[in-house]
């Protein structure tokens, strides 16, 4: 039997205020379902026969089921069998947490995630050592790479069936742990921003005046969001140890005398903002940092999640090797080099 794959497709990502304040995209439910079908087709082509799927009420599962039944009516079997996880649906992030947890305990070989940075973060918080293959269907998407989902599915299939060596098939990733009063309360995959707004509100960040501090696991000038600020200052790769920390200030004070530089950065899709930058430096792994901001809210991967006051003790620690992802590029290069897709897939023993 073949390895089992988990799929977590978030139906409610990419619905936030950035569609109004920054013309961000909306990926329709039918499109998300089509992505799942594309991934399923690629997985099946690699020999995956069974997939666990997070149930949801957003309609993705219903569209996918239509695709499956249509294929069955044709007498084709292009897809693996789908097994919805037996769990209640709340329509909140708790569903993702619970699904990732269940899939980990069920021993899936990898979890394919459809969502934005927030969805991926929720999976990482509960998937333990299970590698994740991310597909961007969210707003900000600094973490999941932009790629045709069929390829992500293919790479995942090749990786979990053991045809790509593990050291090539999977990559290690960094994360930042956010501790409140000494306890890890949240994590971030890309960035942690401290802003002065002390309410979560519509979650997204689009008012640079409130930005104060930024901590990133990697700084890539090609990505969107808060980490773009760091990426445009001093690039840090996903692979190297440690990240970057940036002190931000109001751009109005961006005069020569104040020592603040004004940076124009794409902080959300279509939204170029002037951000005042006071200074920045490398953030070494494993060292807790206490932010200077005493009260405000903590935004994780671009969304306000936690409001805190002067009474709360906040610290941030970057961790290398925090979780694993499928190295899609590496898998496909390997597949090409070794002509992995030239014959019929060899049957593989299930690991469940």
């Amino acid at each position: 039997m073949a390895p089992v794959i988990g799929i977590i497709a978030n139906p409610v990502s990419a619905r936030d205020i950035r569609r109004v304040v920054a013309n961000a995209a909306n990926l329709q439910i039918a499109d998300r379902a089509n992505i799942v079908l594309r991934v399923l087709a690629a997985l099946r082509a690699c020999g995956v026969t069974d997939v666990l799927m997070m149930p949801e009420h957003g309609g993705i599962g219903r569209h996918v089921a239509r695709g499956l039944s249509r294929a069955a009516a044709h007498g084709e079997a292009p897809y693996p069998a789908i097994h919805p996880l037996p769990m209640p649906v709340t329509g909140t992030v708790a569903d993702t947490h619970r699904a990732a947890d269940s899939m980990r305990r069920a021993g899936v070989a990898a979890i394919v995630v459809l969502g934005g940075d927030g969805t991926h973060r929720a999976v990482v918080a509960h998937c333990g050592a299970v590698p994740m293959a991310g597909i961007s269907t969210g707003t900000n998407n600094a973490f999941p790479e932009h790629r045709e989902p069929t390829i992500t599915g293919l790479a995942t299939g090749l990786a979990v069936t053991g045809r790509v060596p593990e050291h090539i098939a999977f990559a290690a990733n960094k994360r930042i742990d956010v501790s409140l009063d000494g306890r890890v309360a949240e994590i971030a995959l890309v960035d942690v921003a401290l802003v002065t707004e002390r309410y979560v509100g519509a979650r997204a960040l689009w008012k640079p005046d409130s930005f104060r501090e930024l901590f990133v696991t990697f700084a890539d000038p090609e990505v969107i969001g808060m980490s773009a600020i760091a990426g445009l200052l001093e690039p840090v790769t996903r692979e190297e140890s440690g990240g970057l920390m940036v002190r931000l200030g109001a751009p109005a004070s961006g005069t020569a005398a104040s020592g603040v530089t004004v940076l124009r950065a794409p902080i959300a899709p279509g939204l170029m903002a002037s951000v005042g930058v006071a200074d920045w430096r490398r953030m070494p792994a494993g060292v807790p940092f206490v932010p200077e901001v005493k009260a405000g809210s903590i935004a994780l991967d671009g969304e306000r999640e936690i409001a805190f006051s002067a009474q709360d003790r906040v610290s941030l620690t970057l961790r290398d090797d925090a979780f694993r992802t499928v190295n899609v590029g590496g898998c496909m290069q390997y597949a090409a080099q070794y002509r992995l897709l030239t014959g019929a897939p060899a049957p593989v023993t299930a690991e469940l």
């Binding site: 139906p11 936030d16 205020i17 569609r19 957003g58 993705i60 309410y199």
Partner: protein
């Protein structure tokens, strides 16, 4: 002394709390009095959904128009309709907002920009397109907000109105108050494309989903959407995910809901409790200040009920009045 972390000053925060409390108290009181048989007809209660009406309406002035639904008490109160007149209307009195001619489902006050609760689901959407068109012709920056439940969002009027608003680029905000139930039918079953945002996208409107039990989330998102509309950015859709504490109408046994659902919602997703918690934990507002508001609201509703009960009923001559302006 703590500085205010919120986008509203303290007076506005207290006003938001007062509005939400007033809606809640109004509805809770109707729930009790209806069960006693004091109230004719039928009523649909907004309890649990207060953050939505309040968070949106705080961005509006009397020049902005709203078209409400059958579950309209909350919208009325948040838009500034007089609570005494509302209560008198629900009691069918001549002192009511509609002089006893409309009842719970038709409370309106055009002077406040409230174009009426509506007994026909989805009917408000075309009307608000007209209100927005009028505002556009006048050039007064007015916007129109139409509320629709998750059920009525399936009405052709609602869908046609999104198209018309987009074609005419009207300053309209379509608010879907998604409480999960169309009367007794689950939204998941009844809405084909599973997403209001996708429907809006289909008409070229941006759509935003917020947690409708979080006052600040609604307030912030609505603020941006309304500002966009005022600035000529065109129509948009706002979906507020919220919870209904009572049945579709009073007397609904709600056997279609899961056991413990309502109790759990009241414990964990009560928008007023959540707001009170935020306000007090940040030290902006002292618990005693909220208690004072609670008492005042309680007294207001008590007085509204007392006045309504004491008010005269419409008389025979009123039967024939106001069918036409002139006939």
């Amino acid at each position: 002394m703590t500085d205010n972390p919120y986008p509203l000053d303290k007076a506005d925060l207290l006003q938001a709390y007062r509005t939400m409390r007033t809606i809640r108290e109004f509805e809770e009181r109707l729930h009790i009095d209806f069960a006693k048989g004091d109230i004719p007809g039928f009523v649909h209660l907004y309890a649990g959904e207060e953050a939505c009406a309040t968070g949106i309406m705080m961005h509006l002035n009397d020049n902005d128009r709203i078209a409400s639904t059958h579950r309209g008490h909350g919208h009325c109160i948040a838009k500034g309709v007089d609570v005494h007149e509302m209560m008198a209307e629900i009691y069918g009195r001549s002192t009511g907002a509609c002089r006893g001619k409309g009842g719970s489902m038709h409370i309106a006050d055009l002077s406040k920009g409230m174009m009426g609760a509506n007994g026909i689901l989805g009917a408000g959407a075309p009307l608000i397109c007209g209100a927005a068109l009028a505002a556009k012709f006048r050039g007064d920056g007015g916007v129109g907000i139409t509320f629709v439940g998750d059920g009525a969002s399936n009405q052709g009027t609602f869908l046609e109105s999104m198209n018309l608003a987009a074609v005419w680029n009207l300053p309209v905000v379509f608010v879907v108050e998604n409480n999960g139930y169309a009367e007794s039918t689950a939204m998941e079953w009844a809405v084909s494309c599973d997403s209001y945002i996708d429907r809006a996208t289909g008409f070229g409107l941006p759509g935003v989903t917020v947690d409708g039990t979080d006052f600040f989330a609604v307030h912030e998102a609505a603020g941006e959407i309304i500002r966009r509309a005022r600035e000529g950015g065109g129509p948009a859709l706002l979906e507020c995910n919220m919870v209904r504490f009572y049945g579709h109408f009073e007397g609904d046994a709600q056997t279609y809901r899961a056991k413990g659902e309502v109790e759990s919602l009241r414990a964990n997703r009560d928008c007023i409790k959540l707001l009170a918690q935020r306000l007090t934990e940040t030290g902006i507002v002292a618990p005693a200040e909220l208690e004072t508001i609670d008492r005042e609201v309680n007294a207001l509703i008590e007085d509204a009920v007392r006045c309504a009960k004491a008010a005269p009923l419409p008389v025979a001559a009123d039967l024939l009045k106001d069918v036409y302006v002139a006939y």
